[in-house]
């Protein structure tokens, strides 16, 4: 089985959109307090959830055709993006520890994908 480029693009877009969704989830999370309105009318949270859903639909679509050895590593591109977004929007430093952790996760997921299933 070969992996269609369309599947790769769909999964990659899903990964990037998912990481952007997490940015909205975090900024929305900070706006939540004991008042129910802070959840019901929380547009950041809403955008985060919708973006997350869109990325899930794209994953379902992309993963339905193609090899996991190719598609798994593409999913983990989202983790790298998140490091960048966190630095840009929340001023979270990109430390060596984080780079090492995300790097290991990327390598691990690639190994899993190469290992089959």
């Amino acid at each position: 089985m070969t992996t269609p480029v369309s599947s790769m693009v769909v999964v990659l877009i899903g990964a990037v959109i998912g990481s952007i969704g997490s940015v909205f989830l975090k900024s929305g999370a900070h706006a939540v307090n004991r008042d129910w309105k802070s959840i019901a009318f929380n547009w950041r949270l809403a955008i985060g959830i919708v973006t997350y859903l869109i990325s899930s639909v794209l994953f379902v679509k992309g993963m339905s055709r193609g090899e996991l050895s190719v598609l798994f590593p593409l999913v983990s591109v989202g983790y790298v993006c998140t490091l960048v977004w966190s630095r840009l929007f929340f001023h979270e430093p990109i430390t060596k520890v984080k780079l090492a952790g995300v790097g290991l996760i990327l390598i691990g997921i690639t190994c899993l994908g190469l290992g089959g299933h």
């Binding site: 999370a29 706006a31 379902v60 490091l83 977004w85 966190s86 929340f90 952790g101 290992g115 299933h117």
Partner: protein, 139 residues
């Protein structure tokens, strides 16, 4: 429009709450694994469906629907954790779900285990450990 809430100050986070946030996400990866399994189960019926049919399928195919409901539970807990933790640490932790998915496949569905997959599992756990322990303490 900037997505950043003006009140968010990631550096003012209490270390104990930071650890709790990491623990919540680590536990939640089990939910993600179950959700992913259910979604994969349902997605097999959608291999040639368009984007609209896929979206409708999420509500009409039971395993897909159950999978997304679990994702919903996960999202609630994840948002709670995000209040007290760094996004750049908590988001990559979700990768731990790959470990549960693989172990479930081997134990419950007799998928084959090979050296490459074992290496993958060990390396992912190492990465999560580095982020969880190293990233929890600030610098």
């Amino acid at each position: 429009m900037s997505p950043v809430a003006s009140s968010s100050e990631p550096h003012a986070i209490d270390p104990a709450k930071r650890k709790q946030a990491i623990l919540i996400v680590v536990c939640c990866t089990v939910l993600v694994a179950i959700a992913q399994y259910l979604i994969k189960l349902g997605a097999n019926r959608l291999s040639h469906a368009g984007l609209v049919a896929t979206t409708i399928g999420i509500f009409t195919i039971p395993p897909l629907f159950a999978g997304y409901c679990l994702y919903g539970v996960f999202t609630v807990l994840f948002v709670y954790a995000l209040r007290n933790g760094e996004l750049s640490i908590l988001y990559p932790l979700i990768a731990l779900s790959y470990v549960w998915v693989t172990i479930t496949g081997v134990v419950a569905f007799h998928e084959m285990m090979n050296p490459l997959r074992v290496t993958g599992l060990v390396v992912i756990v190492a990465g999560v450990a580095v982020l969880g322990w190293g990233g929890g303490g600030g610098k």
